[in-house]
Amino acid sequence: MHRSEPSLSLATYRILVVEDDEMLRETMVAIMEDCGAGVAGVANGSEAFERLQSEHFDAVITDIRMAGGNGITLIQNINAHFRENRPIVFICSGFSDLDAHDYRHLDVAGVFEKPFQLTDMVERVLASLQSRKK
């Protein structure tokens, strides 16, 4: 009756989840940990940027609207600060934010609209990470 989940492995990757909703953040972190990734979760853009400056992450998945440092500013900071080792950036966001900004100039690998399918998210993050490695 239910389809079996494809076995996804994010092993060896480090991912930073930036989401101000605590429960969503916890769930995202748990699922990606299940897939083997090293995951850290933070609640806003400024915290995220601090983490990024002291640790390496392969990918960042960030919400847009957050109290205390929004996602757009975070992505701009990432773009200004990193060159070769820039993490791949994904946006996870409520639908209503999507028309507010133009993401195309921000070099974002994907946008996940809430509520998103987690498997879909993991697959796409994995695909991006693998294609970059090649």
Binding site: H2, S4, E5, D20, D21, M23, L24, E26, T27, M28, A30, I31, D34, I64, R65, M66, A67, G68, N70, C92, G94, F95, S96, D97, E113, K114, P115, F116, Q117, L118, T119
Partner: protein, 391 residues
């Protein structure tokens, strides 16, 4: 008695009658002339009515405005023609006009030839027994007033929806985020169930998150419903201000967060005012939205809103203060006028503050912009203390 005497009596009587009718005749013509004038200028029907509630005379600009012809009306009782209910109202006003000499006005409607018509009757004393009733067909006017009123309600409705629309973006986000939580946890639950042995702790955790998050959505929706409702006819009841203000702030939470606005809220425990919860919430919502707009527009670096509730002997005060640019002196006088807005077309209707002011007034309160040297705009609301029943 002698015949001559009878003749004399009759003679005197008839002279008397003659004089009376002559006077009446002259008066009648003067009356008629003035009636005609009035008839042509303003009135559609004029009745002369006596204290017994009978038609003494009738003039109509159009026959079809009368239930019966003039001839059939004269001498009849009004209540026999228009029914006892309207009849007694007319009699009452005739008496009032005759006794006090003051002009009386009565509005009523009648169905004539299957068409409902509205009339306005003005009663004026003619002498100690008779009043003149001038009647205007105001059906057109009533229809117009009704249209204006409907238009006004539509406007108010659209404003309410617009201010709701402003937070709707935030609400979509507010609901999409918890939906994402539910979806993610359901998916994780399913994955967990595929692995033996079952990780019960984890399953419990997923279920708990789904439960809590569903309740959160329910709360958001009920808050939304509250504000989307039309609160005009709600009864006045004691409203807990801490609860009310927090509800409004919760509803704006996303918008406040996305614009990076900090909020401080102080309210003495148990402060209440007597009022309509929804309307008061809408007043506060508009003030908060205005503050956010003003600070956003002026690109203020540190955006802050203070909501302060004070319970004083003189009543309850609520201050909504922002760290924005404030209101320029030259605009202060216009702020509460309907349709005054400095916002772009489609964004502000300029009705927020004027509607707020009238609602606050309905609550026996006041709203004003007060000077606040240190901060930005400071709106001060004052309400009478709610007389809560003794506990």
């Amino acid at each position: 008695m002698m015949m001559g005497e009878w003749h004399f009596v009759f003679g005197v009587l008839s002279i008397g009658l003659g004089v009376v009718s002559l006077i009446y005749f002259l008066n009648y013509h003067r009356m008629l002339r003035s009636f005609r004038l009035t008839l042509e200028s303003t009135s559609d029907i004029i009745f002369v009515v006596d204290l017994q509630g009978r038609y003494v005379d009738v003039f109509a600009s159009q026959e079809n405005l009368l239930v019966y012809s003039r001839e059939r009306l004269i001498g009849r009782k009004i209540s026999d023609v228009v029914g006892p209910e309207l009849g007694s109202k007319v009699n009452f006003h005739v008496q009032q006009a005759v006794e006090t000499g003051r002009r009386q006005v009565l509005e009523y409607s009648l169905t004539l030839q299957n068409e409902k018509k509205h009339f306005e009757a003005t009663f004026e004393r003619r002498d100690s027994r008779v009043a003149v009733v001038m009647i205007r067909d105001v059906s057109g006017k009533v229809e117009l007033t009704k249209q204006i009123e409907e238009e006004r309600l539509r406007r108010i409705e659209s404003v309410r929806l617009a201010s709701l629309g402003q937070v709707a973006g935030g609400i979509a986000h507010e609901i999409n985020t918890p939906l994402a939580v539910i979806l993610a946890n359901a998916q994780q639950l399913r994955r967990t169930l595929q692995n033996e042995p079952l990780d019960r702790e984890r399953i419990e955790k997923n279920a708990e998150r789904i439960e809590l998050t569903s309740q959160r959505i329910a709360k958001i929706i009920s808050g939304m419903r509250t504000l989307a409702r039309d609160g005009v006819k709600d009864p006045m009841e004691p409203c807990d201000l801490a609860f009310l203000v927090q509800g409004v702030l919760d509803l704006c939470a996303e918008r406040l967060a996305s614009k990076n606005v900090h909020v401080s809220f102080e309210c003495p425990r148990g402060t209440q005012i007597n009022g309509r919860f929804v309307q008061l919430s809408q007043v506060l919502l508009n003030l908060v939205n205005n503050a956010v707009d003003a600070m956003d527009e002026a690109a203020i670096a540190h955006k802050q809103i203070w909501v302060e509730v004070r319970s004083l002997d003189s009543g309850i005060e609520i201050s909504i203060v922002d760290s924005g640019p404030g209101v320029p002196n030259e605009l202060r006088g216009q702020l509460f006028k309907p349709f005054f807005t400095t916002k772009p077309v489609g964004k502000g209707s300029g009705l927020g503050l004027s509607m707020s002011a009238s609602w606050v007034k309905d609550h026996g309160g006041t709203i004003e912009l007060v000077d606040d040297e240190a901060r930005g705009a400071h709106f001060l609301l004052r309400f009478p203390t709610a007389h809560s029943s003794e506990v």
